[in-house]
């Protein structure tokens, strides 16, 4: 599926980002293996993936840091490597890891950045700091900030010039929940004002909450994509229950194994509270299939004389899809 085309609705004129068949190598290692996707103007597109999936490499190509390998890459219709100087004033970048001049204060840092950003003249330092909740830290040296506070300062710099396109590489890493919510609000506000956002994150909840569309990358390829609903609907429904017994008891009592349901093997997790059993039904399963699965499980439970605690039918989650993608490839 490495050549999967993730096409945004809309014409080429509406596209902020176009990536077609991008391959990116570092020596013998192929970090990105022929990915394709487009991001429409005003859209928030999330790239999800494990460490080393190729998200940051893709970002760095789009940001103009790395010369694209094979394939087609355009940002606002321009080559991000060759037309870097034209593109940069229109984009904001929040790196996964970028340093600060630690001896400068927060205020001096924002002032410096403002002086070097087009269209940042109208953004006041106070507004920028208020946006990320760092007003009280204006006079504090950057090296004295916590990791989460540095991340917020990062965000303030990235959005200072009100960019048309914002690259956010794991923006909330290291933030406490309150700061994370505040950051999501900033991102949503920018998007509401028309900004396009390309986001990478490890936090699936973040993608579910913010993204219009997302793609799951693994080992340099895009494995699934679409709106959150489209991706999650592909996860299939789940039937889950708990057996009130320890791992040893469960293994002894069900030596021949737990039953298959509609040809599907259970995923069993042993915890202190009991044995958790989950069946993930086929992609796009319907209610009738779930009911049939429950009926067959109840019949099995009656037959072996066991109680199925907390029996439930639940919708698959983004996490399920993510884990399945990662598991499939492994």
């Amino acid at each position: 599926m490495s050549g999967l085309l993730v096409e945004a609705p809309g014409s080429g004129q509406d596209l902020a980002i176009e990536v077609g068949g991008l391959h990116q190598r570092y020596g013998n290692f192929e970090a990105v293996r022929g990915i394709s996707f487009t991001v429409q103007r005003g859209e928030l597109f999330a790239l999800l993936g494990t460490n080393g999936a190729g998200k940051t490499t893709t970002m760095e190509v789009l940001e103009g840091f790395t010369r694209p390998g094979d394939g087609h890459v355009r940002v606002f219709g321009l080559d991000p490597w060759k037309d870097r100087r034209k593109i940069r004033p229109r984009i904001g970048i929040l790196h996964q890891d970028a340093g600060f001049l630690g001896d400068l204060t927060v205020q001096e840092t924002v002032t410096l950045w403002r002086g070097m950003s087009a269209d940042a003249g109208r953004a006041t330092i106070d507004n920028a700091l208020a946006l990320v909740g760092l007003e009280s830290k204006a006079k504090v040296k950057v090296r004295q900030l916590s990791g989460g506070q540095k991340r917020r300062l990062d965000l303030a710099l990235a959005v200072l010039s009100r960019p048309d396109l914002l690259f956010l590489d794991e923006p909330t890493t290291g933030m406490d929940p309150e700061a994370r919510f505040a950051t999501w609000k900033v991102i949503q506000d920018l998007k509401a004002q028309g900004a396009t956002v390309l986001l990478t994150t490890h936090y699936l909840e973040e993608a579910e909450r913010l993204a219009d569309r997302l793609a799951i990358m693994h080992e340099g390829s895009i494995h699934t994509y679409g709106t959150v609903d489209e991706v999650v609907s592909g996860a299939g429904d789940q039937v889950a229950f708990r057996l009130p017994m320890s791992a040893a008891q469960a293994k002894e009592r069900f030596a021949e194994g737990l039953p298959f349901v509609q040809g599907i093997a259970p995923i069993v997790t042993y915890t202190a509270g009991g044995t958790q059993v989950v069946y993930t039904l086929s992609e796009g399963s319907e209610a009738a299939r779930a009911q049939a699965a429950v009926r067959s499980l109840l019949a099995w439970a009656d037959g072996v004389g066991v109680t199925l605690e907390r029996l439930e039918i639940r919708r698959g989650t983004l996490e399920d899809v993510f884990m399945r993608v990662v598991g499939e490839v492994r």
């Binding site: 940001e63 840091f65 100087r85 940069r88 004033p89 970048i93 790196h95 890891d97 970028a98 340093g99 600060f100 001049l101 630690g102 001896d103 400068l104 001096e108 410096l112 950045w113 002086g115 070097m116 950003s117 087009a118 710099l157 010039s161």
Partner: protein, 266 residues
Amino acid sequence: MRTDVLHAVRLARIDLTMLGRNQTALFNVVLLPLLIGWMYTTLAPEQSIEGVPADLFILTGLSGMMLGFVVFVNLVNSFTARREELVLKRLRGGQSSSVAIFGGAGLSAFALYAFQTVLLSVWISRLGDGGMPSNIPLMLLTGVLGVAVFALIAAAFSGITRNAELAQISVLPVLLVVIIGSPVMGPLSVFPEPLQIVSKLIPTTPVTEIMRTAYLGRDFIGDGGGTLTVAEQWIEALPSLGVLVVWVGVAALLARWLFRWDPRHG
């Protein structure tokens, strides 16, 4: 172009602000070379060198050696530390061009060098036979070329320096060559033969000779030692300026080849 200049000026101002907050670095790059100059004057073996009082001869030639400290050591440390701390990555991710980022570093180094030269001139003017420089434009041009050479060499050197701690050590060989090989304490002709060869090859020699000539208005580039008019100083300095221009080209190639924006791993 205008944007690049503006960005370079802003970056240079920030560089100077931060240097002002780091007293150790400030001492090393600004005061240490002047202290070495003072030490040289106390160690001078003779009362006069080439017909000039020894202290005057030494101090007017100190400018070449100063480049080693205020530009080379300063910028190798700065480039290496900023690369490893990912500050260069941030700067490069902004709207400033590479030219502006390098230009800012070079500009701050030049400002420091100019400040140091002014201090040195004040010092020289207070010596018995000292006075004001004879040819300030020639000094300025030589200073610009000298700073450009050493800023570019510093960029190249930072690329082969693993981290900020090692930068303290990796600069030493160059610094030693600059201190020993520059004709600060005497003309090239009094150096031992092998050192003369080294000295002729390093860029601090033309800087030292031109600066001394431009300051005293006498020929310390050729063999004469005679008084020169301003025009004659320019003519006499031309070959040495040419050498510096060649050095700028060589250093630019080295910087292009060796400089790294991203941290060295492994």
